[in-house]
């Protein structure tokens, strides 16, 4: 049974932000830190989404995904590479057999302002090229004017176009502004068929924040409590350092529990985060603070 999306789930902004402040006081040390750093690295969607993404740049990023660090073979790989549709084929070729997923943004990323036909075609193209994850954007204009069924229907149509590929629905929370909007968009996305809900394109500031992510985790939790289905979460953009990533993980652990501490249900959309995680992992292992000079850029 579908909820009435015209009903608003009340959320208190300050309460959410205070809860997040508590997660930020979690002090993660020693073995638990190493475990979390590795887990976070396994959750990274290594991303490049620029107009200047040449094949060479994407190739470089894929190699980084395959060989994250020169000396330590114990270091895990990231979850996925995230690129534009016209670079999917290249990424798939390089990453074949590695277990690293290839995700592609589609649906007139980042604005979503294309025609429905062109957006669906773009999804089909990306899937045909070999992407097994599609990151779509919702029509924020429709959401903000209150046309929730438009948003619901577009997600349902895109989901259908995805076929076997997993669908991540980008809400672009920076444009929705309020947590109540974020919650409502999350609910619409999940009920319309999203496998993951994702905060941001990375093109709008603010991108992912912990409070926005917490609101979405609450939505995922309610959806699970009601339906028994587990939806994934992907904060994207703005998460640059390992310490922040660990606080996100503490938030996931204490909100949704151990089941979501898994790349199948939680991802970080990021580019520079991976190297900071690597540096921290090496620091934990060697005891020495690290320099970026020793870590390959993506």
């Amino acid at each position: 049974m579908l909820p009435d999306f015209n009903q608003t789930v009340p959320i208190d902004q300050i309460g959410v932000e205070e809860r997040v402040a508590r997660f930020r006081t979690r002090s993660i040390k020693k073995e638990s830190k190493l475990f979390a750093l590795k887990l976070a690295l396994r959750m990274v969607d290594l991303t490049t989404l620029e107009g200047m993404d040449s094949p060479g740049k994407v190739r470089q990023l894929c190699y980084k995904a395959l060989y994250p660090h020169k000396i330590d073979p114990d270091i895990p790989r990231v979850a996925a590479i995230c690129v534009y549709p016209n670079r999917v084929r290249l990424a798939v070729e390089i990453l074949k057999g590695s277990g690293i997923h290839v995700a592609s943004v589609a649906t007139s990323f980042p604005s979503g302002m294309g025609t429905m036909e062109s957006r669906i075609d773009e999804v089909k193209y990306a899937v045909d090229e070999g992407a097994d994850e599609i990151d779509m954007v919702i029509s924020r204009w429709a959401f903000l004017k209150g046309d929730y069924s438009y948003v619901f229907d577009e997600i349902a149509m895109i989901k259908e176009a995805c076929g076997p590929a997993h669908l991540k629905v980008i809400l672009e929370t920076g444009e929705l502004e309020t947590y109540e909007n974020v919650r409502k968009a999350s609910d619409i996305a999940m009920y319309a068929g999203a496998d993951f809900i994702k905060t941001s394109t990375g093109k709008i500031s603010p991108a992912a924040t912990m409070p926005v992510t917490l609101v979405m985790l609450y939505a995922i939790r309610d959806y699970y409590l009601k339906t028994g289905n587990k939806i994934g979460m992907k904060p994207a953009g703005g998460i640059r350092d390992a310490k922040t990533a660990l606080h996100y993980l503490a938030m996931v652990k204490e909100t949704l529990g151990a089941d979501w501490l898994d790349p199948d249900l939680f991802r970080f959309g990021a580019s520079s985060l991976a190297n900071d995680l690597l540096m921290q992992i090496i620091k934990q292992k060697t005891g020495h603070y690290q320099s970026p000079d020793y870590f390959s850029i993506g």
Partner: protein, 287 residues
Amino acid sequence: MSNRLNVLKTCKLYIGGKFSRSESEHYFQAFDKKQKLLANLCRASRKDLRNAIQAARKVQADWGGRTAYNRGQILYRMAEMMEGRRDQFIAELECAAVSRRRAENETDAAIDRLVHYAGWTDKYSALFSSVNPVASPHFNFSIPEPTGVVGIAAPDDYPLVGLISLIAPVIAGGNTCVVLSSEKYGSVACTLAEVIHSSDVPGGVVNVLTGFRADLVPPLATHMDVNAVLSAADDPEQKKNIQENAHINVKRVHLYDGTDWMKDESQSPYYIMDFQEIKTTWHPVGT
């Protein structure tokens, strides 16, 4: 001189907006300043006190919840009614206690005092409220609210202006009260009760008991449904009784000693604030 037999006044207790005799049917005699019998007054019992407190409690939320404007109008109405009975008050004061001139002065001061507090009802809150700049994203404000039910022991000097000076700030602030009148000048209190009765003050807001304060102060001080006690009665034993018993339900206690109620300095919003509680409310500021 007419040989018409004059009609004597019957003084009753004033409880819950009704005039009634003491349930005990006890009475006592009040004398004028020449020791001539003035009136028979009801001698309120502990049960009368209990009934009066119940009546005060019953209407407190309504009275405290009225608009400040409305309370101000009602207090001003009281002043109007007193002005209409000015001559009666002067005559009663003169007969019972003081010189003509003093009686006039006291009556005028009492009426003016009432007007003074009528004007405060919608102003003290603005003076003693605050919006507090807390160091977090919250809107935080503090406002005075009435303490509740107040027991008042009236002074023997200044039978009228003393009485008004105690009652007016208490009810201006939204409290209800039970007044133990002066033993000597109970008849003045009775006449004041008639004024209150005829001036839109809801029944139960002011309850007036005549009788012996020594009978009534101990059960008042120990009554668990009285929030505050105010005494201006010059009786060390009774004050001691209040001091020793008020703590059983943490009553607020105010003892006014030796105040010259005729003076303008004996009125201020701080008398209202003696029977106010400060309530602070927090709310997040967000979207």
